[in-house]
């Protein structure tokens, strides 16, 4: 199977025994927002999710809604954000995430070309389920952008297998039935969902929604290959945290994930890490 610009590095890191860390930032949130991307990279992010803000983010909770509103109020636009990103030359793959209305505005083909021109490797569209994804999936494949599909605890097994098969980059496992937002404890269906995705697929699985502490991240990656951290970062940024502050927070998460890997590596049980070379 050919793997794309997002999936190849993620697989390589996972297969090297690392847990994946993907922080999120809303593009255009502050005047110097690209500083957050640099800080994420420096803190050891394996990929970065870049939110292109939309006026009506129906799958997001209060914090990311507020971040989107704030970015739009500053005059952020998808193309403006991509133009800023194009100049960064980060060595961490970027995954754009946005709602389908923004994709349709340009048309899927043009939208994907714009992502590629900016050096973006993947795309997440939370309001585009498998059934409607065909047109964008084709355009993404043609331009070399990995279109990531989402899976939820309510997804039946057969459909889950199909999602894992058609997703590119990784499978985005939504840990809870709910919107984005911090939660006191990692939702119980998260582990089961991860297991179910992995049943028929070797594709990396990243768990997102509601993960904010090192303990939750470590717990999530007992089964998942990595975690997505969104609201916890955006809350800090909305409260005024500078790139270095958020970077320090991510460094803590990175360390917890790496320690956990070291502890579990010896003695390794051969079947705990799929795809690890003998």
């Amino acid at each position: 199977m050919s793997t794309g610009l997002l999936e190849s590095p993620l697989r390589a890191r996972r297969d090297g025994g690392h847990k994946l860390l993907m922080p999120y930032v809303t593009g255009g949130i502050t005047p110097g927002w690209t500083g957050y991307l640099r800080a994420f990279a420096a803190a050891g992010a394996d990929a970065i999710e870049l939110g292109l803000p939309f006026s009506d983010p129906t799958l997001d909770g209060a914090t990311i809604q507020e971040a989107s509103d704030a970015a739009l109020a500053r005059g952020a636009t998808a193309h403006g954000i991509l133009a800023e990103v194009a100049e960064l030359r980060l060595d961490v793959p970027l995954v754009a995430s946005t709602y389908y209305n923004l994709v349709l505005r340009d048309g899927p083909a043009e939208f994907c070309r714009a992502l590629r021109r900016a050096g973006v490797a993947g795309l997440i569209v939370p309001d585009l389920p498998l059934d409607e994804a065909g047109e964008l999936a084709d355009a993404a494949a043609a331009t070399g952008v990995d279109l990531v599909l989402l899976a939820s605890p309510a997804t039946p097994q057969r459909r889950l297998d199909e999602i894992a098969r058609r997703s590119r980059g990784f499978v985005y496992a939504v840990s809870v039935m709910g919107t984005t937002g911090e939660r006191a404890a990692l939702a119980e269906p998260a582990a089961a969902l991860t297991e179910r995705i992995k049943q028929g697929s070797d594709r990396p699985v990243l768990l997102g929604f509601g993960i904010s502490t090192p303990e939750q991240a470590v717990e999530a990656t007992r089964r998942a290959d990595g975690v997505v951290i969104g609201t916890a970062i955006m809350r800090r940024i909305l409260d005024g945290a500078a790139p270095d502050d958020v970077g320090a927070y991510l460094t803590g998460l990175r360390r917890a994930l790496d320690q956990e890997c070291d502890e579990t590596r010896w003695p390794a049980t051969p079947d705990t890490r799929r795809g690890t070379a003998p």
Binding site: D56, P126, D127, P129, D131
Partner: protein
């Protein structure tokens, strides 16, 4: 079945199929977490609509609780003033004061059938919310209704009615603080409780099967009107069928009764909320249709004096009817609407909802400009009564 020059192609205003498509519009653009829930609603609706027991209990509810059939009232004095024959389909006389109750009873019965234990809904003008609160009380289900803060302010009477009926009203303070944001909030809430909650959508919008299902539940307006017109008009079918369009449910229900006839179908939108007349292709709230948006794909705020028309999009089937040329979508200004409400009140003793007054306003204008030829026959759906708008009208009249 009577057909005429404008008779529609087969398949128009029928079952949109598994993918819920009306031409290129419609579909199921929801988070993966909601796909299974939407599919369940679709399966339940497919089953219920052909089940005689379900149809019977709905028909009984519509007769006993709603007071159907609603009358067809000739607007005699206004007709004489305008030089046309104007017939009013009186959804304002339906229980709770608008057409919304037709759809809500259908969906609430479906929710019961699906074993759901509570209802959630969004509302703009509050008419859909009042209908949901009423059905919830009738069936013994708790209900939560999301409503933009601005609408909570301007539709105080309906907020009180909902609370009186035992429904929780949740003001929504995000975005434009109107119907668009109430809809987003209801969807967020639904994602978190698809097991217990039934999402009762208030218009022909939302993911498949809602646009289709809501149209089918509102079809009763058009079917009744068609039969009533056959008795009231020498030609059996009116020359024009006119209804206001927010999301477009009263219009869709009315049009469904006439789409196979020669009648010209006119949907009247608010100037500042004209999804069908001025929108462009987009996806919001689970469906692909025409939306008001800026050059960057951000949804823009709709403005209308009528809270129920304050939605930046239009139901997908209306977008399709527009593309086919089978229906025309026109706009009127807030000023014309207030004038029309006053004129209808004084000529016919009916104070219409400001939403419905949009349809009246277009008829008045079209008669004046000659777009409605003298002697034309017009069926107009009066979607609701104006009590809820008294405080708005008090400032303006």
């Amino acid at each position: 079945m009577a057909t005429g020059v404008l008779a529609t192609r087969p398949g128009v205003m029928e079952d949109p199929g598994e993918r819920g498509r009306f031409g290129e519009y419609g579909g199921l653009y929801v988070p993966e977490s909601l796909v299974a829930a939407c599919r369940e609603v679709e399966a339940a609706f497919r089953e219920a609509r052909t089940d005689p027991a379900f149809r019977e209990s709905l028909a009984e509810s519509l007769a006993l609780h709603v007071g159907r059939p609603t009358p067809l009232t000739p607007a005699r004095r206004l007709s004489a003033e305008l030089g046309v024959t104007l017939l009013l389909k009186r959804e304002d006389l339906a229980h709770t004061g608008s057409h919304k109750i037709n759809n809500v009873l259908g969906q609430a019965l479906l929710a019961l059938r699906m074993g759901r234990t509570r209802l959630i809904a969004e509302t703009g003008a509050g008419q859909h919310g009042v209908a949901v609160a009423t059905a919830a009380a009738l069936l013994g289900l708790p209900a939560t209704v999301f409503m933009g803060e601005r609408d909570v302010e301007r539709q105080g009477l309906n907020v009180f009615r909902m609370r009186m009926l035992g429904t929780e009203v949740v003001p929504v303070g995000t975005g434009s603080r109107t119907l668009k944001d109430a809809t987003s909030e209801a969807m967020r809430h639904w994602v978190a409780d698809t097991e217990e909650a039934y999402y009762c959508v208030g218009s022909v919008i939302g993911p498949n099967p809602y646009p289709w299902m809501v149209r089918e539940f509102q079809r009763v307006i058009g079917d009744e009107a068609r039969e009533q017109c056959a008795g009231a008009l020498p030609a059996a079918v009116p020359d024009y069928v006119v209804a206001c369009v927010g999301g477009g449910s009263n219009a869709a229900g009315t049009f469904a009764g006439f789409v196979g006839t020669s009648a010209r179908l006119i949907g009247v939108e608010a100037e500042g909320g004209a999804g069908a007349a001025r929108g462009s292709l987009g996806v919001l709230h689970g469906f692909r249709s025409l939306f008001l948006q800026d050059d960057h794909g951000q949804i823009t705020e709709a403005h209308s004096i009528a809270a129920g028309l304050d939605y930046p999009g239009v139901g997908p089937e209306h977008a399709h009817l527009r593309d086919l040329g089978r229906a025309r979508y026109v706009t009127v200004s807030d000023e014309e609407v207030v004038d029309a409400a006053v004129r209808l009140a004084r000529a016919e003793g009916i104070v219409p909802a400001l939403e419905s007054a949009h349809a009246v306003a277009w008829v008045i204008r079209a008669a004046r400009t000659g777009e409605l030829p003298p002697g034309a026959t017009v069926l107009l759906t009066l979607s609701g009564r104006g009590d809820k708008d008294i405080s708005t009208l008090k400032e303006l009249v």
